[in-house]
Symmetry: C5
Subunit: 78 residues, 5 copies
Protein backbone atom coordinates (compact mmCIF):
# COMPACT_ATOMS: atom_id res chain seq x y z
CA UNK A 1 0.00 0.00 0.00
CA UNK A 2 1.05 3.57 -0.27
CA UNK A 3 0.50 6.51 2.03
CA UNK A 4 -1.10 9.63 0.60
CA UNK A 5 -3.06 12.72 1.44
CA UNK A 6 -6.47 13.65 0.06
CA UNK A 7 -6.20 16.81 -2.02
CA UNK A 8 -9.56 17.00 -3.75
CA UNK A 9 -12.47 15.23 -5.35
CA UNK A 10 -13.25 14.35 -8.91
CA UNK A 11 -16.67 14.20 -10.54
CA UNK A 12 -17.44 12.23 -13.65
CA UNK A 13 -20.93 12.60 -15.08
CA UNK A 14 -20.11 10.60 -18.21
CA UNK A 15 -18.73 7.26 -17.07
CA UNK A 16 -18.98 3.54 -17.72
CA UNK A 17 -21.98 1.86 -16.11
CA UNK A 18 -19.92 -0.55 -14.06
CA UNK A 19 -18.27 2.25 -12.05
CA UNK A 20 -19.66 1.92 -8.49
CA UNK A 21 -21.43 4.88 -6.93
CA UNK A 22 -19.25 6.71 -4.44
CA UNK A 23 -16.55 9.29 -4.00
CA UNK A 24 -13.50 9.48 -6.23
CA UNK A 25 -10.80 11.32 -4.32
CA UNK A 26 -7.60 12.83 -5.60
CA UNK A 27 -4.68 11.66 -3.49
CA UNK A 28 -1.14 12.99 -3.46
CA UNK A 29 1.41 10.32 -2.62
CA UNK A 30 4.57 10.77 -0.56
CA UNK A 31 6.78 11.01 -3.63
CA UNK A 32 4.68 13.78 -5.14
CA UNK A 33 2.67 11.56 -7.49
CA UNK A 34 -1.10 11.82 -7.89
CA UNK A 35 -3.82 9.27 -8.29
CA UNK A 36 -7.59 9.03 -8.09
CA UNK A 37 -8.88 6.50 -5.55
CA UNK A 38 -12.34 5.25 -4.70
CA UNK A 39 -13.22 6.16 -1.11
CA UNK A 40 -15.64 3.93 0.79
CA UNK A 41 -14.81 5.60 4.14
CA UNK A 42 -15.88 9.21 3.74
CA UNK A 43 -12.43 10.77 4.03
CA UNK A 44 -11.99 14.53 4.06
CA UNK A 45 -9.58 16.79 2.25
CA UNK A 46 -6.22 16.84 4.03
CA UNK A 47 -6.71 13.41 5.61
CA UNK A 48 -3.78 10.95 5.49
CA UNK A 49 -4.89 7.72 3.86
CA UNK A 50 -3.71 4.25 2.96
CA UNK A 51 -4.29 3.29 -0.68
CA UNK A 52 -4.23 -0.18 -2.21
CA UNK A 53 -3.85 -0.59 -5.97
CA UNK A 54 -4.47 -2.99 -8.81
CA UNK A 55 -6.92 -5.88 -9.01
CA UNK A 56 -6.89 -6.03 -5.21
CA UNK A 57 -8.77 -2.71 -5.18
CA UNK A 58 -11.46 -4.05 -7.52
CA UNK A 59 -11.84 -7.12 -5.32
CA UNK A 60 -13.34 -4.92 -2.61
CA UNK A 61 -16.56 -4.60 -4.56
CA UNK A 62 -18.95 -7.52 -4.31
CA UNK A 63 -20.46 -6.51 -7.62
CA UNK A 64 -18.29 -8.17 -10.22
CA UNK A 65 -16.01 -6.31 -12.57
CA UNK A 66 -15.83 -2.90 -10.87
CA UNK A 67 -13.25 -0.96 -12.95
CA UNK A 68 -11.49 0.43 -9.88
CA UNK A 69 -7.71 0.06 -9.56
CA UNK A 70 -7.13 2.28 -6.50
CA UNK A 71 -9.01 2.12 -3.19
CA UNK A 72 -8.66 3.96 0.10
CA UNK A 73 -8.59 1.16 2.67
CA UNK A 74 -7.90 3.22 5.77
CA UNK A 75 -7.31 6.59 7.31
CA UNK A 76 -3.89 6.78 8.91
CA UNK A 77 -3.87 7.76 12.61
CA UNK A 78 -1.83 10.94 13.10
Amino acid sequence: MIRGRVTGRVWSTKHVETLPNGALLEVETEDGGRLIAFDPLGCAEGEAVLVTQGSVAAGYFTKARAPVDALIIGSIDE
Copy 2:
Protein backbone atom coordinates in the same frame (compact mmCIF):
# COMPACT_ATOMS: atom_id res chain seq x y z
CA MET B 1 -6.98 5.51 -11.40
CA ILE B 2 -5.07 8.28 -13.04
CA ARG B 3 -6.18 11.52 -14.63
CA GLY B 4 -5.14 12.22 -18.18
CA ARG B 5 -6.00 14.18 -21.28
CA VAL B 6 -6.75 12.71 -24.70
CA THR B 7 -4.09 13.77 -27.19
CA GLY B 8 -4.82 11.59 -30.19
CA ARG B 9 -5.96 8.29 -31.58
CA VAL B 10 -4.08 5.22 -32.67
CA TRP B 11 -5.02 2.85 -35.49
CA SER B 12 -3.79 -0.71 -35.73
CA THR B 13 -4.75 -2.62 -38.84
CA LYS B 14 -2.58 -5.61 -37.96
CA HIS B 15 -3.61 -6.75 -34.48
CA VAL B 16 -4.42 -9.86 -32.47
CA GLU B 17 -7.94 -11.20 -33.01
CA THR B 18 -8.93 -10.85 -29.37
CA LEU B 19 -8.55 -7.05 -29.38
CA PRO B 20 -12.09 -5.66 -29.04
CA ASN B 21 -13.40 -3.30 -31.71
CA GLY B 22 -13.34 0.32 -30.59
CA ALA B 23 -11.24 3.40 -30.22
CA LEU B 24 -7.69 3.33 -28.89
CA LEU B 25 -6.88 6.80 -27.58
CA GLU B 26 -3.54 8.29 -26.70
CA VAL B 27 -3.67 9.84 -23.24
CA GLU B 28 -1.13 12.11 -21.62
CA THR B 29 -1.03 11.71 -17.86
CA GLU B 30 -0.50 14.47 -15.30
CA ASP B 31 3.16 13.62 -14.85
CA GLY B 32 3.85 13.84 -18.59
CA GLY B 33 3.67 10.12 -19.28
CA ARG B 34 1.78 8.62 -22.21
CA LEU B 35 -0.37 5.58 -22.60
CA ILE B 36 -2.87 4.12 -25.04
CA ALA B 37 -6.30 3.38 -23.52
CA PHE B 38 -9.41 1.72 -24.89
CA ASP B 39 -12.30 4.21 -24.98
CA PRO B 40 -15.86 2.89 -24.64
CA LEU B 41 -17.27 6.40 -24.09
CA GLY B 42 -16.51 8.27 -27.29
CA CYS B 43 -14.16 10.85 -25.79
CA ALA B 44 -12.76 13.67 -27.90
CA GLU B 45 -9.27 15.06 -28.22
CA GLY B 46 -8.54 17.43 -25.35
CA GLU B 47 -11.04 15.80 -23.00
CA ALA B 48 -9.94 15.11 -19.40
CA VAL B 49 -10.40 11.44 -18.61
CA LEU B 50 -10.10 8.91 -15.82
CA VAL B 51 -8.08 5.82 -16.73
CA THR B 52 -7.99 2.48 -14.93
CA GLN B 53 -5.12 0.06 -15.56
CA GLY B 54 -4.16 -3.59 -15.34
CA SER B 55 -6.39 -6.65 -15.26
CA VAL B 56 -9.20 -4.46 -13.97
CA ALA B 57 -9.33 -2.81 -17.41
CA ALA B 58 -9.67 -6.17 -19.16
CA GLY B 59 -12.46 -7.14 -16.78
CA TYR B 60 -14.67 -4.51 -18.40
CA PHE B 61 -15.10 -6.69 -21.46
CA THR B 62 -17.62 -9.48 -21.19
CA LYS B 63 -15.81 -11.36 -23.92
CA ALA B 64 -13.11 -13.27 -22.12
CA ARG B 65 -9.42 -12.53 -22.46
CA ALA B 66 -9.49 -9.05 -24.00
CA PRO B 67 -5.83 -7.97 -24.09
CA VAL B 68 -6.58 -4.47 -22.79
CA ASP B 69 -4.64 -3.11 -19.80
CA ALA B 70 -5.85 0.51 -19.88
CA LEU B 71 -9.45 1.70 -20.07
CA ILE B 72 -11.09 5.11 -19.99
CA ILE B 73 -13.81 4.74 -17.34
CA GLY B 74 -15.01 8.32 -17.23
CA SER B 75 -14.75 11.83 -18.51
CA ILE B 76 -13.79 14.24 -15.73
CA ASP B 77 -16.20 17.16 -15.22
CA GLU B 78 -14.33 20.44 -15.67
Copy 3:
Protein backbone atom coordinates in the same frame (compact mmCIF):
# COMPACT_ATOMS: atom_id res chain seq x y z
CA MET C 1 10.15 -9.06 -4.96
CA ILE C 2 11.94 -6.05 -3.64
CA ARG C 3 14.32 -5.64 -0.74
CA GLY C 4 13.52 -3.03 1.87
CA ARG C 5 14.09 -1.99 5.45
CA VAL C 6 11.40 -1.51 8.09
CA THR C 7 11.30 2.15 9.14
CA GLY C 8 8.13 2.34 11.20
CA ARG C 9 4.59 1.24 11.77
CA VAL C 10 1.28 2.67 10.70
CA TRP C 11 -2.00 2.55 12.60
CA SER C 12 -5.38 2.92 11.03
CA THR C 13 -8.36 3.02 13.37
CA LYS C 14 -10.81 3.89 10.60
CA HIS C 15 -10.44 1.24 7.90
CA VAL C 16 -12.45 -1.03 5.64
CA GLU C 17 -13.77 -4.17 7.31
CA THR C 18 -11.99 -6.54 4.99
CA LEU C 19 -8.52 -5.36 6.09
CA PRO C 20 -7.00 -8.31 7.99
CA ASN C 21 -5.86 -7.78 11.59
CA GLY C 22 -2.11 -7.41 11.86
CA ALA C 23 0.80 -5.04 11.59
CA LEU C 24 1.16 -2.55 8.77
CA LEU C 25 4.84 -1.65 8.50
CA GLU C 26 6.44 1.21 6.66
CA VAL C 27 9.25 -0.07 4.45
CA GLU C 28 11.92 1.94 2.67
CA THR C 29 13.06 0.31 -0.55
CA GLU C 30 16.59 0.27 -1.96
CA ASP C 31 15.87 3.09 -4.39
CA GLY C 32 14.58 5.36 -1.64
CA GLY C 33 10.88 4.68 -2.23
CA ARG C 34 8.41 3.96 0.57
CA LEU C 35 5.52 1.60 0.89
CA ILE C 36 3.29 0.15 3.58
CA ALA C 37 3.32 -3.66 3.77
CA PHE C 38 1.35 -6.15 5.82
CA ASP C 39 3.68 -8.08 8.14
CA PRO C 40 2.72 -11.63 9.16
CA LEU C 41 6.19 -12.33 10.60
CA GLY C 42 6.62 -9.87 13.45
CA CYS C 43 9.49 -7.89 11.94
CA ALA C 44 11.19 -5.14 13.91
CA GLU C 45 12.23 -1.65 12.94
CA GLY C 46 15.53 -1.73 11.07
CA GLU C 47 15.04 -5.29 9.82
CA ALA C 48 15.83 -6.06 6.15
CA VAL C 49 12.80 -7.61 4.51
CA LEU C 50 11.58 -9.11 1.26
CA VAL C 51 8.32 -7.62 -0.02
CA THR C 52 5.97 -9.07 -2.62
CA GLN C 53 3.41 -6.82 -4.34
CA GLY C 54 0.15 -6.88 -6.22
CA SER C 55 -2.56 -9.54 -6.22
CA VAL C 56 0.05 -12.06 -5.16
CA ALA C 57 0.19 -10.33 -1.76
CA ALA C 58 -3.59 -10.60 -1.31
CA GLY C 59 -3.43 -14.29 -2.21
CA TYR C 60 -1.60 -14.94 1.06
CA PHE C 61 -4.81 -14.46 3.00
CA THR C 62 -7.19 -17.40 3.06
CA LYS C 63 -10.05 -15.02 3.74
CA ALA C 64 -11.18 -13.85 0.35
CA ARG C 65 -10.75 -10.33 -0.91
CA ALA C 66 -8.16 -8.97 1.54
CA PRO C 67 -7.31 -5.49 0.18
CA VAL C 68 -3.58 -5.94 0.69
CA ASP C 69 -1.21 -5.24 -2.22
CA ALA C 70 2.12 -5.47 -0.34
CA LEU C 71 3.25 -8.29 1.95
CA ILE C 72 6.45 -8.99 3.83
CA ILE C 73 7.25 -12.60 2.89
CA GLY C 74 10.62 -12.93 4.59
CA SER C 75 13.31 -11.37 6.69
CA ILE C 76 16.60 -11.22 4.78
CA ASP C 77 19.57 -12.89 6.51
CA GLU C 78 22.34 -10.35 7.08
Copy 4:
Protein backbone atom coordinates in the same frame (compact mmCIF):
# COMPACT_ATOMS: atom_id res chain seq x y z
CA MET D 1 -1.17 -0.13 -23.37
CA ILE D 2 2.04 1.53 -24.31
CA ARG D 3 3.51 2.43 -27.66
CA GLY D 4 6.98 1.18 -28.51
CA ARG D 5 9.32 0.35 -31.31
CA VAL D 6 10.93 -3.04 -31.97
CA THR D 7 14.70 -2.79 -31.55
CA GLY D 8 15.81 -6.40 -31.61
CA ARG D 9 15.12 -9.99 -30.71
CA VAL D 10 16.13 -12.10 -27.75
CA TRP D 11 16.87 -15.81 -27.74
CA SER D 12 16.70 -18.00 -24.68
CA THR D 13 17.81 -21.58 -25.10
CA LYS D 14 17.57 -22.32 -21.39
CA HIS D 15 14.05 -21.40 -20.28
CA VAL D 16 11.13 -22.68 -18.24
CA GLU D 17 8.97 -25.26 -20.01
CA THR D 18 5.81 -23.20 -19.78
CA LEU D 19 7.22 -20.40 -21.97
CA PRO D 20 5.23 -20.56 -25.24
CA ASN D 21 7.13 -21.01 -28.50
CA GLY D 22 7.48 -17.78 -30.44
CA ALA D 23 9.42 -14.58 -30.83
CA LEU D 24 10.58 -12.50 -27.90
CA LEU D 25 11.16 -8.98 -29.16
CA GLU D 26 13.00 -6.14 -27.51
CA VAL D 27 10.87 -3.01 -27.51
CA GLU D 28 11.90 0.52 -26.68
CA THR D 29 9.09 2.56 -25.20
CA GLU D 30 8.38 6.24 -25.81
CA ASP D 31 10.02 7.29 -22.56
CA GLY D 32 13.24 5.45 -23.37
CA GLY D 33 12.49 2.35 -21.30
CA ARG D 34 13.03 -1.17 -22.59
CA LEU D 35 11.08 -4.37 -22.25
CA ILE D 36 10.90 -7.79 -23.83
CA ALA D 37 7.49 -8.69 -25.27
CA PHE D 38 6.09 -11.85 -26.83
CA ASP D 39 5.17 -11.25 -30.47
CA PRO D 40 2.35 -13.31 -32.02
CA LEU D 41 2.17 -11.05 -35.10
CA GLY D 42 5.56 -11.39 -36.76
CA CYS D 43 6.68 -7.79 -36.30
CA ALA D 44 9.94 -6.55 -37.79
CA GLU D 45 12.71 -4.46 -36.34
CA GLY D 46 11.79 -0.78 -36.47
CA GLU D 47 8.04 -1.45 -36.44
CA ALA D 48 5.84 0.66 -34.10
CA VAL D 49 3.86 -1.62 -31.83
CA LEU D 50 1.23 -1.60 -29.11
CA VAL D 51 2.17 -3.55 -26.00
CA THR D 52 -0.12 -4.78 -23.22
CA GLN D 53 1.34 -5.77 -19.86
CA GLY D 54 0.64 -7.82 -16.77
CA SER D 55 -1.70 -10.76 -16.34
CA VAL D 56 -3.68 -9.51 -19.33
CA ALA D 57 -0.73 -10.48 -21.53
CA ALA D 58 -0.69 -14.03 -20.16
CA GLY D 59 -4.43 -14.32 -20.75
CA TYR D 60 -3.78 -14.29 -24.49
CA PHE D 61 -2.46 -17.82 -24.35
CA THR D 62 -5.03 -20.57 -24.24
CA LYS D 63 -2.50 -22.84 -22.60
CA ALA D 64 -2.77 -22.11 -18.91
CA ARG D 65 -0.07 -20.40 -16.93
CA ALA D 66 2.08 -18.90 -19.69
CA PRO D 67 4.70 -16.82 -17.83
CA VAL D 68 4.37 -13.87 -20.20
CA ASP D 69 3.77 -10.38 -18.80
CA ALA D 70 4.21 -8.33 -21.99
CA LEU D 71 2.53 -8.97 -25.34
CA ILE D 72 2.52 -7.15 -28.65
CA ILE D 73 -1.19 -6.83 -29.50
CA GLY D 74 -0.90 -4.72 -32.61
CA SER D 75 1.27 -2.92 -35.09
CA ILE D 76 0.55 0.81 -35.10
CA ASP D 77 -0.38 2.26 -38.50
CA GLU D 78 2.09 4.98 -39.46
Copy 5:
Protein backbone atom coordinates in the same frame (compact mmCIF):
# COMPACT_ATOMS: atom_id res chain seq x y z
CA MET E 1 9.42 -9.13 -19.39
CA ILE E 2 12.57 -7.32 -18.49
CA ARG E 3 16.19 -8.16 -19.09
CA GLY E 4 18.51 -8.25 -16.10
CA ARG E 5 21.75 -9.64 -14.79
CA VAL E 6 22.17 -11.81 -11.70
CA THR E 7 24.20 -9.97 -9.09
CA GLY E 8 23.82 -12.12 -6.02
CA ARG E 9 21.64 -14.35 -3.91
CA VAL E 10 19.42 -13.65 -0.94
CA TRP E 11 18.74 -15.97 1.97
CA SER E 12 15.72 -15.74 4.21
CA THR E 13 15.58 -18.08 7.17
CA LYS E 14 12.49 -16.45 8.62
CA HIS E 15 9.83 -16.47 5.91
CA VAL E 16 6.17 -17.21 5.32
CA GLU E 17 5.36 -20.91 4.92
CA THR E 18 3.92 -20.53 1.45
CA LEU E 19 7.23 -19.35 -0.04
CA PRO E 20 8.39 -22.18 -2.35
CA ASN E 21 11.80 -23.75 -1.75
CA GLY E 22 14.42 -22.53 -4.19
CA ALA E 23 16.87 -19.79 -4.99
CA LEU E 24 16.05 -16.12 -4.61
CA LEU E 25 18.42 -14.19 -6.85
CA GLU E 26 19.18 -10.51 -6.87
CA VAL E 27 18.85 -9.12 -10.38
CA GLU E 28 19.97 -5.75 -11.68
CA THR E 29 17.80 -4.48 -14.50
CA GLU E 30 18.94 -2.54 -17.56
CA ASP E 31 17.89 0.79 -16.08
CA GLY E 32 19.87 0.21 -12.89
CA GLY E 33 16.95 -1.00 -10.76
CA ARG E 34 17.13 -4.06 -8.52
CA LEU E 35 14.71 -6.81 -7.73
CA ILE E 36 14.71 -10.24 -6.16
CA ALA E 37 13.43 -13.03 -8.41
CA PHE E 38 12.74 -16.70 -7.84
CA ASP E 39 15.05 -18.83 -9.99
CA PRO E 40 13.84 -22.27 -11.12
CA LEU E 41 16.69 -22.63 -13.65
CA GLY E 42 19.87 -22.60 -11.58
CA CYS E 43 21.30 -19.37 -12.96
CA ALA E 44 24.75 -18.17 -11.94
CA GLU E 45 26.01 -14.77 -10.90
CA GLY E 46 26.67 -12.63 -13.95
CA GLU E 47 24.15 -14.47 -16.13
CA ALA E 48 21.78 -12.42 -18.31
CA VAL E 49 18.21 -13.38 -17.52
CA LEU E 50 14.62 -12.72 -18.55
CA VAL E 51 12.31 -11.86 -15.66
CA THR E 52 8.50 -11.91 -15.62
CA GLN E 53 6.62 -10.02 -12.93
CA GLY E 54 3.30 -9.85 -11.13
CA SER E 55 0.66 -12.55 -10.75
CA VAL E 56 2.03 -14.22 -13.87
CA ALA E 57 5.14 -15.13 -11.88
CA ALA E 58 3.07 -16.77 -9.13
CA GLY E 59 1.16 -18.74 -11.75
CA TYR E 60 4.30 -20.72 -12.47
CA PHE E 61 3.91 -22.63 -9.22
CA THR E 62 1.43 -25.45 -9.24
CA LYS E 63 1.05 -25.11 -5.49
CA ALA E 64 -1.58 -22.46 -5.00
CA ARG E 65 -0.88 -19.05 -3.62
CA ALA E 66 2.91 -18.86 -3.91
CA PRO E 67 3.78 -15.29 -2.84
CA VAL E 68 6.23 -14.77 -5.69
CA ASP E 69 5.89 -11.71 -7.92
CA ALA E 70 9.14 -12.03 -9.92
CA LEU E 71 10.38 -15.14 -11.73
CA ILE E 72 13.36 -15.86 -13.92
CA ILE E 73 11.83 -17.55 -16.99
CA GLY E 74 14.94 -17.84 -19.11
CA SER E 75 18.63 -17.25 -19.52
CA ILE E 76 19.34 -14.92 -22.42
CA ASP E 77 21.71 -16.30 -25.08
CA GLU E 78 24.76 -14.04 -25.39
